[in-house]
């Protein structure tokens, strides 16, 4: 069976499965989709949370970035898992006891003001929109490859499909659909990894294969990879840093606290049956997430190795990699390279006219490259294609490649659709109905929700055509924005009884403003190309070499500081609010969250 046919079959069958489950689950329950987690066992809820959480960034993009970053890529791995420890210990059980449905609703009560809720909606919208831009980048890559069209066309098609998927609506909230999505996604990720790990090292478990020796050779995979990449002028794989060690440190903080501040993840813990379940749910979610996250480093290193072994056949014969006439003859390139060339995400230019592919770091000043007649790197490989291309690079059977396609589509669609729903409820319910037009009819609320979804997707799609970075990098920006604005105010709302509305609102405003100012300086105002103002902040990464993706941690620090100082000089919260905080701290008396939204 042809690859194209198998791809349509796998993607089609997985969709039929999700829709089938949605229809079946609908018929059996009348509960509102917002209470999806109610009455569900923590293990099942954890699995659904994992599906919700692992988006195009985790599935499609992350391993590709790690493949290029090497050791420094660990910041994604630690950052996007370590946040769950913060969530479990600092937020989830208390927010569950608090018993509100959305983050703005919590802010409205805890900070006894509509302005605090409004501020939270603004932060939530900026973070979610940025997140969707990253998702659209991933969606574009997926559809471009599997429909055999250009990246641009892939994004247009993706926009249409995501929009109809989100409007179909309630699917997102049905826990068992997400359990199915998790199963598709995780098998699509681990099966090729097991194949490849076994091919390269003889060890079928990628977590162990990454630390094993290559088949038939007396050298470990990582040592060999280090040799190959350093010979080609790249940084050593197991020690390469993202800018600096300080930047890696701050970047990791930003992702961790961003995880604990992202509304669409927090919302999951509002709806588990008990406070104790909220704690365990976070643990189970992390177990299911960790299956992918501990596989990813193996996928990354092995993909990098296979890629170099493909374009520099000398890797396998241990001949010098950098020599005159080294490299793969372009006409002999494998099928997968031809398939990806169609999308424009992989491209070759023969700079020295020898008909061979030279793939190396041409920023290296080592004279050996020029001496070998190499006149610049000739191959560009978009990092976001690595995971999808991985089974093709390793020449795995067609059904594995088709399975990865189904996983990529599931990951991209589920999170993008979930975020659109979060945006629509924030605009129509939390902002318009609760603050501006209290007597809005339910029909109009639904309508404004759909309009805001449509606007969000058009904007995100447009910006996704010229994305501020690779999918995972853009998503990291979204985490930074959640980190600098929402997390500190949530945490202080629970752990500091005397935090008042003035402190919380000014903290969020300062954190968000300073972070966006730094990010937009690098990436353009609201990510529109051509509006960057690097001169104003004294050049790229001018703040101690901190990259914009990592800056959310600095913003969060300023948020905490501002809130603390302002709360010292303004009136404390009223007595009943302080009692409410006392009450939130103990589990007893937690009532089921009602479906009223």
């Amino acid at each position: 069976m042809s690859l194209t046919f198998l791809t349509y079959l796998f993607v089609g069958a997985s969709f039929a499965l999700y829709i089938g489950i949605a229809v079946w689950a609908r018929a059996g329950s009348t509960s509102d989709f917002y209470v999806a987690g109610g009455g569900v066992h923590p293990v099942i809820n954890g699995m659904a949370t994992a599906a919700d959480w692992m988006s195009a960034a985790s599935f499609i993009s992350m391993a590709g970035l790690i493949a290029y970053m090497g050791y420094g890529g660990g910041l994604f791995l630690m950052g996007w898992t370590g946040g769950y420890v913060l969530m479990a210990t600092l937020l989830a059980p208390y927010l569950r006891k608090f018993g509100r449905f959305t983050v703005p609703a919590f802010f409205a009560d805890r900070y006894y003001s509509k302005s605090a809720a409004g501020m939270a909606v603004i932060c939530l919208l900026v973070a979610s929109l940025t997140y969707i831009i990253g998702q659209m980048t991933g969606v574009g890559v997926t559809f471009a490859r599997f429909l055999g069209v250009t990246n641009e066309m892939g994004i247009y098609l993706g926009m249409a499909i995501v929009f109809s998927y989100a409007v179909f609506g309630g699917m997102k909230g049905i826990t068992y659909t997400q359990v199915a999505q998790y199963c598709v996604l995780i098998s699509a990720y681990t099966i090729p990894a097991i194949f490849i790990s076994f091919q390269l090292t003889g060890v079928p478990i990628p977590q162990l294969g990454l630390g094993a020796s290559l088949v038939g050779e007396d050298i470990t995979l990582l040592t060999k990879l280090n040799q190959v990449v350093t010979e080609l002028g790249f940084g050593e794989y197991t020690t390469a840093l993202p800018g600096s060690r300080l930047n890696m440190f701050v970047y990791t903080i930003s992702l961790m606290i961003g995880t604990a501040g992202l509304p669409h993840v927090i919302i999951r813990f509002f709806t588990v049956p008990t406070v104790a379940d909220a704690r365990y749910s976070a643990g189970w979610a992390l177990v299911f997430i960790a299956i992918l996250y501990t596989t990813a480093p193996g996928v990354a290193a092995m993909a990098r190795y296979n890629l170099h072994a493909t374009v520099s056949p000398e890797v396998l014969t241990s001949a010098p990699l950098v020599a005159e006439g080294a490299g793969l003859v372009y006409e002999d390139r494998p099928e997968w390279m031809k398939r990806w060339e169609v999308t424009g995400l992989l491209a070759w230019t023969d700079k020295n006219n020898d008909g061979k592919i030279q793939y190396y770091n041409d920023k290296s000043t080592d004279p050996k490259f020029a001496a070998a007649g190499w006149q610049g790197n000739e191959l560009t490989v978009n990092r976001d294609i690595i995971v999808l291309a991985n089974p093709e690079i390793a020449l795995l059977p067609n059904w594995v490649i088709a399975l990865v396609a189904a996983g990529g589509v599931a990951a991209a669609l589920s999170t993008a659709a979930g975020l659109l729903l979060a945006i629509s409820s924030a605009v129509s319910h939390d902002l318009l109905k609760k603050i501006f037009i209290p007597d809005m009819s339910e029909k109009n609320e639904l309508l404004t929700g759909k309009i805001s979804m449509a606007l969000a997707i058009v904007l995100a799609g447009y910006l996704g055509l010229n994305p501020p970075g690779f999918a995972a990098g853009t998503v990291a920006l979204a985490f930074g924005i959640a980190a600098c604005s929402i997390f500190p105010a949530l945490m202080m709302g629970i752990f500091n009884k005397n935090m008042c509305k003035y402190g919380a609102i000014s903290g969020m405003a300062v954190g968000l403003f300073v972070t966006l100012f730094y990010v937009f300086a690098h990436k353009g105002i609201f990510f529109f190309k051509g509006t960057e103002y690097l001169g104003l902040i004294g050049g790229a990464n001018s703040f101690f070499g901190i990259t914009p993706e990592a800056f959310g941690a600095i913003g969060a620090g300023l948020n905490f500081l501002t809130a603390y100082i302002v709360s010292k000089v303004t009136p404390p919260p009223p007595e009943h609010i302080q009692e409410m905080v006392e009450n939130v701290r103990t589990p007893r008396g937690s009532s089921a969250v009602s479906g009223a939204h």
Partner: protein, 84 residues
């Protein structure tokens, strides 16, 4: 009653503090700041610092959440504030 509530909150904060200390040591300590030194040791074919950054810290995070959930549950029972 007031004292009970204070003691409960103190015990909770102590537990969370302990969990977060371990959390910081494995990720920011072993995974980032001490990674160059730990890389001199190897675990199988893994440089040890690299292993903490890309594998080890994640396993510890999982263990931490379950330990936290279990111990916090015990504290809840001890101070009689658990859910029925």
């Amino acid at each position: 009653m007031e004292d009970q509530a204070k003691a409960y909150w103190f015990a909770t904060l102590k537990l969370i503090g302990g969990i977060l200390v371990v959390w910081a040591i494995v990720s920011y300590g072993f995974g980032i700041l001490l990674a160059p030194a730990l890389n001199n040791i190897s675990l199988g074919g893994y440089p040890f610092g690299f292993w903490w950054a890309q594998q080890g810290s994640i396993y510890v995070f999982i263990a931490l959440i379950f330990v936290y959930a279990k111990m916090q549950g015990k504290i809840d029972v001890k101070f009689n504030v658990n859910e029925e």
